[in-house]
């Protein structure tokens, strides 16, 4: 590209009169003009000082128009070239288009008008192409930054979740797979004064906003859960705080909060609009359904609480609906029944989660559009 702001056009023709006429016409339109008498001279001039566009005759001694295009394109140069041709050379002109010419014009009595239109058209096309290329480059760069950002967010989010959960005389296993690096699911577990607190939650949606709410929600639940031991009070307080955060976004959180009391061998459960959790004890498995609304809609909502015996050998499996709503190619959901059938086999937590994930993955061919979270705990 020429260095000046003015567009420079190189006019190439062995006929000095044609060169001058076309040069004058284009100069009148405000272009800077360079001239060459054949292809060889044109290439030398363009190499010494690149122009923005070349208007070239087809028939010239030594290096003709076709050869000029071929040599220029061979270097990877994309400078637009408009070919001027006589009636008898149409076939050659079309060959020139195939070789990379931008346009061709008949050298007739209208050439003064047609050359101006053609130059404008070709330059506009080139401008659009350059603009398009720039936009694509910008987009690719932005995408790359976004991806890097997501990878960072993924690491941060992973650190928010508890790792290496160990509760003496219990076996615990967890699984967490966001749909796109970051997600709106979370789980948490901690023990205080002989009581193991368990939480699994699913923030609606699975976008960046869900991930933000997930972090806030987990923080609130853990903070309240560490100073309060009554599940109803914990969830009610968390709901009030989260309603303030979510206002009219329509977003919400479904959640299960459980407390296993070691001494009483009891499990207290509160499910706020969450999919069923599965409790196995005494050789049977039962689904425990939601006991109230989801969190984040109404600060005055409240929930019922249920208490179950949780002696040695009892197991609790909690999950988010990314598992059950995984679909096969016929749009059928993996569903709760398939899940319950696996749970009834009575496998230990780690193996149970592996089996469920493998079955769901096979069912939906690995296409999980939602976040997946599983939490299994069993008392030895």
């Amino acid at each position: 590209m020429a260095t000046s702001e003015i567009t420079t056009i190189l006019v190439v023709d062995d006929d000095a009169l044609i060169r001058d006429i076309i040069g004058m016409v284009l100069e009148d339109q405000g272009y800077a003009i360079q001239k060459a008498k054949d292809g060889g001279e044109a290439i030398r001039k363009h190499q010494a000082e690149p122009v923005d566009l070349i208007v070239s005759d087809m028939n010239m001694p030594e290096v003709d128009g076709l050869e000029l295009i071929k040599r220029i394109r061979a270097t990877g140069d994309t400078v637009p070239v408009i070919i001027l041709t006589g009636n008898s050379e149409i076939a050659t002109a079309i060959e020139a288009l195939h070789s990379g010419a931008s346009d061709y014009l008949l050298k007739d009595e209208n050439i003064q008008d047609t050359v101006t239109f053609s130059v404008e058209k070709v330059l506009e096309k080139q401008r659009l192409q350059a603009q398009n290329k720039q936009l694509m480059t910008d987009l690719a760069r932005k995408n790359e930054l976004l991806e890097k950002d997501k990878v960072l967010a993924q690491k941060v989010q992973k650190n928010i979740l508890p790792r290496d959960l160990v509760f003496p005389s219990f076996e615990v296993s967890t699984f967490y797979q966001p749909s796109d690096k970051i997600g709106g699911d979370f789980f948490d577990a901690w023990e205080a004064e002989g009581k193991i607190n368990l939480v699994i939650a699913d923030v609606s949606g699975h976008s960046t906003s869900s991930a933000l709410i997930m972090a806030v929600c987990k923080g609130i639940i853990r903070s309240v859960g560490q100073i309060e031991t009554d599940i109803k009070k914990i969830v009610t307080a968390a709901n009030r705080m989260l309603c303030e955060v979510l206002t009219d976004s329509g977003m919400f959180i479904s959640l299960v909060y459980g407390i296993i009391d070691r001494e009483k061998e009891e499990l207290q459960l509160l499910s706020a609009g969450h999919n069923p959790v599965f409790l196995s004890n005494g050789g049977t498995t039962r689904a425990i359904e939601s006991m109230g609304p989801v969190i984040g809609w109404d600060p005055d909502d409240d929930w019922d609480l249920e208490t179950f015996p949780f002696p040695g050998g009892s197991g609790l499996f909690m999950y988010t609906d990314g598992i059950t709503e995984a679909k096969d190619r016929h749009d059928e959901e993996f569903g709760e029944e398939r899940l319950e059938t696996i749970i009834q086999e009575g496998q230990p937590p780690e193996q149970l989660i592996e089996t469920i994930f493998a079955a769901a993955r096979e069912f939906c061919h690995g296409d999980f559009p939602d976040d997946l979270t599983m939490f299994a705990i069993r008392k030895n």
């Binding site: 609606s204 329509g250 609304p293």
Partner: protein, 116 residues
């Protein structure tokens, strides 16, 4: 998802949904209803019979619409969700917060009565 607008007596706007109510379509539905409210149409019937599946974003959109319409002193009913969708409303207890009806006539009655 296809969203078609129709009308019934008493300035009731029927928003007929056809397809899955999920993230993208949920946003579009919110936009459409917000536009209706701007034009002072605040008796809204969401026809759900042809919604095959609704995810959490879809449910969130229903709740957001409900809040928005109530803020505009209007009324919104959700008509004839299929069993899959109804279950989502039930599990989350949204059925206790939204007006869910099983026919357009019931929905129409509710909208007219409530806004008399």
């Amino acid at each position: 998802m296809e969203i078609n607008l129709g009308s019934m007596d008493g300035d009731v706007v029927v928003v007929d949904l056809n397809g899955d109510l999920v993230a993208g379509s949920a946003e579009e539905l919110k936009r459409q209803v917000a536009k209706l409210l701007q034009k002072n149409f605040n008796r809204i019937m969401i026809e759900m019979a042809n919604v095959g599946f609704m995810d959490s974003s879809g449910l969130g959109a229903c709740m957001a619409l409900h809040k928005l319409v109530v803020e505009h002193k209007g009324r919104i009913v959700f008509v004839k969700p299929n069993e899959t969708v109804a279950k989502v409303f039930r599990v989350t207890r949204a059925d206790k917060k939204l007006a869910l009806v099983m026919s357009k006539n019931d929905g129409h009655q509710l909208l007219i009565e409530k806004t008399k």
